[in-house]
Symmetry: C3
Subunit: 468 residues, 3 copies
Amino acid sequence: MALLTPDRLFPADPRTRGIARELYQSVADKPIISPHGHTDPRWYAENRPFPDPAQLFITPDHYVFRMLFSQGISLESLGVPRADGGPTETDGRKIWRLFAENYHLFRGTPSRLWLDHAFESVFGLTTRLSAETADAAYDQIADCLQKPEFLPRALFERFNIEAIATTESPLDDLRWHRMIRDSGWKGRVVTAYRPDSVVDPEFDGFADYVAAFGALTGEDTATWEGYLNAHRVRRAYFKEFGATSTDHGHPSARTENLSRQQAAGLFAKALKGACSAEEADAFRGHMLTEMARMSLEDGLVLQIHPGSYRNHSAPVMARFGRDKGFDIPTRTDYVRALKPLLDAVGLEPGLTVIVFTLDESSYSRELAPLAGAYPALRLGPAWWFFDSPEGMRRFRELTTETAGFYNTVGFNDDTRAFCSIPARHDVARRVDCGFLASLVATGRLDEEEAHEVANDLAYRLAKQAYRL
Amino acid sequence: MALLTPDRLFPADPRTRGIARELYQSVADKPIISPHGHTDPRWYAENRPFPDPAQLFITPDHYVFRMLFSQGISLESLGVPRADGGPTETDGRKIWRLFAENYHLFRGTPSRLWLDHAFESVFGLTTRLSAETADAAYDQIADCLQKPEFLPRALFERFNIEAIATTESPLDDLRWHRMIRDSGWKGRVVTAYRPDSVVDPEFDGFADYVAAFGALTGEDTATWEGYLNAHRVRRAYFKEFGATSTDHGHPSARTENLSRQQAAGLFAKALKGACSAEEADAFRGHMLTEMARMSLEDGLVLQIHPGSYRNHSAPVMARFGRDKGFDIPTRTDYVRALKPLLDAVGLEPGLTVIVFTLDESSYSRELAPLAGAYPALRLGPAWWFFDSPEGMRRFRELTTETAGFYNTVGFNDDTRAFCSIPARHDVARRVDCGFLASLVATGRLDEEEAHEVANDLAYRLAKQAYRL
Amino acid sequence: MALLTPDRLFPADPRTRGIARELYQSVADKPIISPHGHTDPRWYAENRPFPDPAQLFITPDHYVFRMLFSQGISLESLGVPRADGGPTETDGRKIWRLFAENYHLFRGTPSRLWLDHAFESVFGLTTRLSAETADAAYDQIADCLQKPEFLPRALFERFNIEAIATTESPLDDLRWHRMIRDSGWKGRVVTAYRPDSVVDPEFDGFADYVAAFGALTGEDTATWEGYLNAHRVRRAYFKEFGATSTDHGHPSARTENLSRQQAAGLFAKALKGACSAEEADAFRGHMLTEMARMSLEDGLVLQIHPGSYRNHSAPVMARFGRDKGFDIPTRTDYVRALKPLLDAVGLEPGLTVIVFTLDESSYSRELAPLAGAYPALRLGPAWWFFDSPEGMRRFRELTTETAGFYNTVGFNDDTRAFCSIPARHDVARRVDCGFLASLVATGRLDEEEAHEVANDLAYRLAKQAYRL
């Protein structure tokens, strides 16, 4: 019991802490709604043991390996695969030791909170990870991973997950989702529609993907109408596998509302690979509005995750490929960028557009005022680098006064690290309860109201906003 | 006594809270100086009863109806007038019930604080507004509104308002201000000079307004010199009705210091409606510098309220017109934007330019360093969306270390919601006392000094900066 | 003992405060590492008495005189030298009285903390400065300054400075550093290489300086290769006088990685004074990458201090020259700006690039993610206007969760105000211990770990990062 303290993340003031503790106790055991994330549906489909501790905690987690890399530890030595297939470390224990020796680097980070939570509450570790405790921890986790109660489905149930969404390309055959469904297992794993490869003219192989998209859907995707229909068909297919949302991760929040002719013209250019950077950007922006229109038809919630400068380091991209911790947030405008979409569909109360940000300066200046006015708009929770205690606190402090609680959508973990899911939701619940406790302690909210809001933020709003 | 707690908004730590309480007690009953706002002078002139509770609290308050609208409640059902004069709800009780049923939407917002304060301290309500309490609350407020002690002047006196400014166009005849003056009532209601319609080439009907401006002042406003003289004449007229300030709400903080020839050329173009967007912007920017020069002559304080993207939703603008909760803050530059004006007149100790912002990222980066250097520059208080406990706290935390307290100007409420005035000043006094208490509790300020500063922030600086 | 309270700057909550106090006690007496600053090496070389109190505390300190100026006090009356050599106040006592009468202006500012710390702990004052106490304070400080224990070297030792860096131009002959070395005094005063005059094509007299640079180094600085060699030669010379770093204060964080041909072409143009603003900017940007490459060769740490709009007021610049409190921070991009340099050398673990900011909105959005990924990149501490309790708290709150503690470099004071050095380091130690105490009190860090980190932040990281 050495890794976690029971009152962690509550405000320091004893009276406020007492209120936070009470609020938290009323939501701590609520089921987890995880409406947006990147876990692998194959885990739930095949239900095979996770491999060794290093492959569970280090090699696939860009939060973890980028921090080690930032201090001069090579990605090869952490087993991160090379783009050219060249050799990297494969000995899980060696990777784990390197990680353990450098565990102090994570002091003050959310990774440390998530890791300790998983170490203690999932694997029963009770001493801080370090060079000294590395081997014992490795052995204990490796042991656990062989047991049936640590298989993906068992953990899913133990984590009390009521519903989880994965994210797939329109070109994905959803075989793992089909296998889950056919297995008769009752865990609710749904997909989400993430069409980057077929909406981004700058995506490598765009024209080929659009052709495959046509083949898959039986639509003539060489035409603008056929292309839009292919989206309709494929969205319907995703809905069969539980999808309630689409997801879009563009470099900016730009939207457009082009005429049919303009859009069709850009699409034709895009298929020929002839779009300028500006035209590609306009096309992506226009597709957000098209997706929103389809959402009005089919009820899928539209998520916008903008503003990441992907693969910032050219040498890292060349050697290791995408998603290696070098996606860096950029300044992002929402006021002008979202206007075309909002003018088109922003007043529709039947539509839900959830917008996220990596630019915290937009919380109070742009996003809260927009979400506090447009019926279709909701604010996603603190995202990525801001999925952290201070990040969540700032999110509430900067958005609540203008947008209230009910234009936000509860928490989502956005993770590919399965064991971190309970930890992340626990952090969110604690921080939100701490925030609510501060409002109570300073006379801004009644305690009874705070209990209702705590439940809304921990559970109800995510279900409602994502229609789960 | 259920709606408000006596220690609300003070820091949670008991010792710090004790200091805050003592500081607050020494300023809680200070008269209100309200040097900038948008109440209607007709209220004070005619002194007629306010209409029903819905028309007092909901229909005219964009803070309130935009939040309800953001959750799918139509503006028509809230009685907000349509641009085409079409039907909207007129039954105050029905509007009120809709509002009451959705009162939970305001949890955590300043509107909730202001409303509860008015409900309790003005109208004597003691239970939280909800669907259940809606009718009783409506009846009680409606009853009060018929009594003489709830007439505008009586409330003005009860609110302990020492001076309040309204805001009028140069084309306004100030009849209500004249009527107040002629009535012999002693309440101090002054006007302020807000010349948008005659300084903004993009204002609908600009040329006509400039012509009317000429007719009103007897100056030849077809010429640049005559136009400037018309301003001088009208500013003098406004001063007769107590004006101590001018106010300017441009899309950006841009200023220019053009040559006489350039300015006259732009003005001629503007009269012909031939300005490009860039030229219109330059003209507006130049007029700020002209206004500052006139301020040096006549002593009016110049206020700049930049950075709002007005009427963001085209459909809302088309259906309901301006000021419907769709003014969204934008990123605003001050460093380059203010330089022309500051190079021209920024070192004049006899001039006061008060600058506000809707972009909190500029507090510590731009505004505090500028105000901490230029003798003519002062920082206005946290504005609009930031007229809130967290917004005010951030304002002090982000500006004080660089600009100190004495380059700020105390509080102004900027409101058109009459009953919220005492609440807003109370919030500001509490938050400022809380901030000062934190400085005392952490050894950054003596308690004796803090008492002096508390009085400065609550009362003295507003009088001094606005020359009231 | 009236000026400072022993628990100043610790969190208000008693338990958290207790933890902070213990952490602080363990680092309060650590030697000072001051790896970046602007004290005058002549002081240590000649070891003559500082002149009067006004010349020690007011006339050279832009933090102090800009605040007084912002409230209408002329720079002449504060003894600030005029560019034209015209008369300004020379009576130190008169200047001091003006300062003392207006000491309330500094309430809530870090200057007040630094001044009070120096007044009390260096000069033994025990009553708050004011009009009443002005003369007594002046006399006491003036008295002290005549005593041997207040000579620069004695203060250096009393301040427990283990190492301090000054900042010099490549054209400086380092005579004072030589004199220090030759004196046999054991105080460690090192120089730092600040080549603005020979890397900025827009620097007044650039071509002449580059010619002088050639003469000084025996290289042909009319050629690109000779020019680069001159840097190498001069950097080596600076290393003889203890330099471990270079420093670069460009208007933006722009870097470039041009081809040899492009760079040589720009350099030739720069020597002719023919660079456009854009070309000058590109050249400066490219020189950062060249400097980084030389750092790989010679081990000097590269510091980037970008984003100040220098000499914002044209009239102040004309009348008083540079560094008069009118350097204003601007919005600064890092993500795109640093990419060329980072692509070139950012993965080198042997290189240390320390980046600072005046745009706090970049902490969490850009700088922490970059420093949390690139091995060569480290974050400098809260700088300039943010070298303050709230500024330091924000720095930790906004960077730690993403970059951790070990991608930061401890504190540096960046000051030219000698007596403020212990005060500034004390403030940093207190604020960092307060931040760590908050992590402990909220279960995010063990107390034992916090002690280790406290020592890292107060002492070890500065030594390590700056290779001192």
